[in-house]
Every structure is written in structure tokens, then in C-alpha cells.
Amino acid sequence: MKYLSEYRDPHMVKEYIEELNQIVTRQWKIMEVCGGQTHSLVRNGLLEMMPSQIEMIHGPGCPVCVTPLGLIDKAIYLAEQDNVILCSFGDMLRVPGSEKSLLQAKAEGAEVRILYSPLEAVKLAKETPEKEIVFFAVGFETTAPANALSVIHADRLGLKNYSILTAHVLVPPAIEAVMQDEESHIQGFLAAGHVCTIMGMQEYYPLVDKYKIPIVVTGFEPVDLLQGILMLVRQLETGRTELENQYSRVVRENGNPKAIETILQAFEITDREWRGIGTIPESGYQLRENYASYDANRKFDIQQGEVSESEICIAGEILKGIKKPKACSAFGKECTPEHPLGAPMVSSEGACAAYYHFSAITSSESIASK
């Protein structure tokens, strides 16, 4: 490694770990909500470096993992229609549906395209008027403005052949669902920095008040994560329950007001099913009535067969932080990233995939020793 940036500075990492060791007096359960943070914690070996009293529980924060099976089946059904080009972020392709994944459907001849941005799908719709372009609009709040803009652009361009299959999920209701679950005893949360870049801090004050838990908005680089954990443990050890912002270099109190305005122009809040968890009230976005003609769910008569989950997969318990991936009997055996049984093994931000890819990393290889 030629150059270590400040966020990966082994010296800073060591200092944070030392301070954590000094202040921690008892067992704490902390959940990181964002899958990107899970990925970074595991791949940088931070989990093994931290004091054993601090247990990191990996939350439901991967939109790929929580997209309901029924919606994946719908996307596959649409992709298989002759006049449709189904566009999606790359992560969704390998997620197993009831019978197959989008990737298998593509191999069988369905037209599936991986795009980097929903705006590319709008461009494709403009250039391909003879086809229906459907974008599989998955994501948390971070991605919502992009998906909203795609519909707003399509509308401004007067396109009739563009629509989105919406699978949007929201972070604060997921935190509520975790807090209300009797089996998960989370004592503090790291909130997702990029979600708050859009939404700001406002939605998190009521959660801190209602559940008397500390929340720290945190970035995703190793030093960010350790600093966020340290801020949280300091609160826990002194009995404070506050909302703090570790990621203040990016996250503003009010987020990005223009982005929020754009989301609300196209979307309204709705109840949403989370794969492995069930329906969480007011936890997702759906297109507003005036954009109904861009809603693939309403535009197409989607025929759906029986929806069936793998019987072995314990993704629900993984996503709620009740079990760790290695507690799954299929982990690394029947279920691998090449042959995933459940979504957390597919997405690079899924907890099972993170553990699978980086389980070889031991503390001796982790960044503090470099």
C-alpha cells in the first residue's frame, strides 16, 4: 500500500481503539444501519480490533437485501415481456426470485440492462420509442432524488414509454421496527451518513426522544466508523441519549432541501414490505397520483405466480440483527455469492456477503498492523 489516507490512518485507528478500550466498562450492543458501513467494518477488520465489550449488530440497511421477493418476481416478469427493456442497478441482477434471478432471465433471452443511473434509463426511453423502458427503482433516501428526477425528466420530455418499479425504503421507520422488536436489544445506532446527506438530521431527534437511545450520524470510512462508535460509546457510558453528527463535513442539519423537495414532488410515503422483516408502516415511497402513468405497477398488468422463499435462509433474523451470518447453517456451504440463497449474500453491502468475502481477514492483517 503506497499511501494511507487520513481516514485509513493506522495511527488514528490505533488511537481510537485505545480510547475505546479505556472508556468501555460494560457490554454494549450497537447497530450500524447502513450496509456500506457493515462492508467497511468487516473488510477493514475493525470488528476484531474493537474491545470485546462492543458488539456491532448489522442492520437492515441494504436496499437490495430488503426488496421483497414479490417485487423481484415482478421485475423478472416485466423483463420477459417482448416490448419491455428492464433496467436496473447491477446489484439487483443476482438476487434470487421465486424461480430465478434477473440474471438467469437475461440468459434466457429477456432484455435486462445494467445502468449506473436512472437518468440513463430516461435517455434510453427517448432513443428507443418502440420499447417500454422500466427502471427497477430500488434504494434508500440517498437514491430517491435520482429516481424521482428520472420520472420528472421523463414527464418534462413528454415520454410515454418510461416507468419505474418502485421499491423505496426509508431508514427511520426501520430503526423503529428494530426498537420495537423484542428480540433485538440495541442500545445505540450509527445512522447512515449518505442518507442524512439528503434528509438531514431532523427525522432522528424524535427517535432519540421516544426510545431514549443515542444516535450518531456516521460516515463509512474506517476512521469515520471508529470515531462514530467512540462518540456513541461515550454517550452510552455517561448515560446520555443525544443525536450527534460525526459526518458533519458532509451532512448538514437540514440535509439537501432541494433534494427533499424533488423527492416529495414525485413520491409520497406508503407502507412497505421489507424482505425478511415484513410490512413496516410508512416505510417507503410510492409515486404520487399525478405521476401514476410512470408507475410500472399500475401501468402493466403483472401476472404473478406463487411467491416462495428459501426455507433455509434466515435473512430476516440477519437483517434485524438477531443472528450473525455465520449462525446460518447454509453460510459458505449451500449459500455463496456464486449461488446465493438469500439477498444478504448477493449485494456487496449485504451482511452475509461481507462476512463471506472478508472472513479470511484476521486481526493480524487488519489496517492497524499495516
Binding site: 494511507l4 440497511g61 437518468l119 434504494g139 437514491t143 428526477l149 449518505h194 463509512f220 432541494k258
Partner: protein, 82 residues
């Protein structure tokens, strides 16, 4: 897919039928298009945090450089190459 990456605005234009303010953004040398609609204050030379083709905030230049270094180490910038 949830990652947001900082890039520098090289030029500003409006290609898709004039519906949006678009820019060519350099991600440590890799050029991509991004919409600037959500960051009306952004101008040429600024660094913006880009997520799925949309700039979501303006960031400090030094912060952006540190993030590049980190992303390069973990190989995430490769995702942009396809």
C-alpha cells in the same frame, strides 16, 4: 449501490433535451455525466458528491481527495469503469 463518490465538475451543459443541468464530472480521471439539478450552487471546478448520476452535495476539495485515496484502496472506483 449506496455509495456516493466525490468528483470534480469539468464542464456544465444540458444534453437531455434541455430538461436538466448536466455536467461532465471527473472521478479521479474517469469522466462521467452527472446531473447538477440538486446542487444549484455548484460551478465549474467544484467538487460534488455524486450518487447514481446525481450530484447530492458540494464537498471540500481536500475532503474529496482523501475519499478518492480511500476508494482507490478498497477498489470501489473500479465500479465506475464499466
Amino acid at each position: 449501490m449506496c455509495l456516493a463518490i466525490p468528483g470534480q465538475i469539468k464542464s456544465i451543459e444540458s444534453p437531455i433535451g434541455d430538461v436538466s443541468r448536466m455536467a461532465k464530472v471527473s472521478f479521479d480521471g474517469i469522466l462521467k455525466e452527472a446531473s447538477l439539478e440538486l446542487v444549484p450552487e455548484a460551478k465549474e471546478g467544484d467538487f460534488v458528491l455524486v450518487h447514481v448520476g446525481i450530484a447530492i452535495s458540494v464537498v471540500d476539495k481536500d475532503e474529496a481527495q482523501k475519499t478518492f485515496d480511500y476508494l482507490k484502496q478498497i477498489g470501489e472506483l473500479d465500479d465506475l469503469q464499466h
